[in-house]
Symmetry: C2
Subunit: 244 residues, 2 copies
DNA sequence: CCTCTGAAATGGACTAGACAACTCTGATAG
DNA sequence: CTATCAGAGTTGTCTAGTCCATTTCAGAGG
């Protein structure tokens, strides 16, 4: 296969011209400023509202603009840096100067899908606890976190979780176990209506999904978690040193 | 502020019904299979082509479908796991069983923007080298990587980079320096026409952007890099242990 | 048998407009 | 003065279509 890197650049779509025009405009405005309405832009840039909306949508997805139905479109606040590989959510937030809290959305027992079962080292259809929590920072929803744990291994977990906010504390105090290693994954996704509602954003908005697969000292899987963050609001940060 | 988590769920948009219908269909098909055309779906699901395209676009963005103009829409291959925090790009790829290569796209000397200057610890407008490279895995474009380094500190760098593929080797062998710590950031973005062209995807496609800010043993900044990966093709993976 | 050509089918980009849902403001009634 | 409400203006969703760029493939011609 021959690589075709030097071929002609594709012609620029019209909505991209609109986008560049808006980017220039955004640079001159302070966060919170109102940008022209869709209909005004349609006339000014001599295009259709659909095209203007495509440009606006991308900028919203990138966290540069915020749309408020019935009100207007505004220049967004800069993204919030969020440390990766945190010991404890609450702890790390406090260190960064935020007040963090957690809200239990749902805690149910269900049958493991093939995917969940293989991750937890149990049989498909075995009982698992599914714990869904909303992470808040300064009372603003930050992430939707869903944890899966084996029901056989952590019998009665739901009752404990309802009383104590920290899952890791329950695991340590009640079940005498703690994760010593983990494999984390980071990928992009698109918000479903449910996540969009909980995180106060739009269906289809770009998300950052952080997955964590935790193991105990014996190498046995403890939990499988995935956390959905608004991609337009957060940027993950990790500090690395020497060794690698 | 009172949290309003239990209010009614928003009514499901029609395009999301289309999307769920397609997801069900995708689950029954093998990667590479053809899905019905946009016009067929429009009739079958009794909607407009615009609405069908919105659903298809999200699925393409999530890496579940691939569109080929003039041909059709196909079920996509699963995402590729890519290790984070790699020592050397080539090395790490080899370890994962891939053959990696790098193609130099551009290497120029330019004036530092305010942002770049502050990252490199130099004055705005000072000379910097901007080195743009395309990372390939098994001859498939994987990421567009742009590095910025101080031209004063690494005089003549471009000449060396044209001869040697590894930037870090040049830094070590010629300039006797190496990064010992770094701060990495991960965020979502949207592909510009240029990146879309280089990575063989579409303008506006969701991307994962990895930033790395490297420092030497004296704590002086060495380089600032950002790498753009196709969000629909890659998932970053990191292994963590105990103390982390 | 091979090559070329052109029609058909596909996705890509865009338009013009309708109606719904929501926000804000100013006029009005109490 | 305050509270309410109607209406104007905004974004959200959807429709029905046009035209373009690319791919595919069957058939004509060599």
């Amino acid at each position: 296969m021959v690589l075709d890197v030097n071929h002609q650049a594709p012609r620029e779509p019209k909505y991209y011209q609109v986008k560049r025009h808006l980017l220039q405009l955004i640079d001159t405005l302070a966060p919170g400023s109102l940008v022209p309405t869709e209909r005004v832009l349609t006339v000014e840039l001599e295009t259709s509202r659909t095209t203007v909306r495509q440009a606006l949508s991308e900028l919203v997805g990138e966290g540069r603009l915020v749309r408020r139905q019935g009100s207007g479109t505004y220049v967004a606040e800069p993204k919030i840096a969020w440390p990766l590989h945190m010991t404890s959510f609450t702890e790390q937030a406090a260190a960064a100067g935020y007040s963090a809290s957690t809200q239990l959305l749902d805690a149910v027992r269900e049958r493991a899908s093939e995917d969940i079962a293989s991750r937890l080292g149990i049989k498909t259809g075995a009982s698992v606890y599914c714990i869904e929590r909303l992470r808040l920072v300064d009372d603003t929803p930050m992430a939707v976190e869903t944890s899966y744990l084996s029901a056989a291994r952590f019998a009665g977990l739901i009752g404990h979780v309802r009383k104590t906010s920290s899952l890791y504390r329950v695991l340590a105090d009640v079940y005498g176990t703690a994760p010593v290693s983990a494999e984390e994954t980071i990928e992009t996704a698109v918000a479903s209506p449910r996540e969009a509602d909980l995180l106060n954003t739009d269906t289809g908005a770009p998300m950052l999904v952080l997955g964590r697969h935790s193991f105990d000292d014996a190498g046995e899987p403890i939990e499988w978690v995935h956390s959905w963050y608004r991609g337009d609001r957060y940027v993950f940060v990790a500090k690395l040193s020497a060794g690698h």
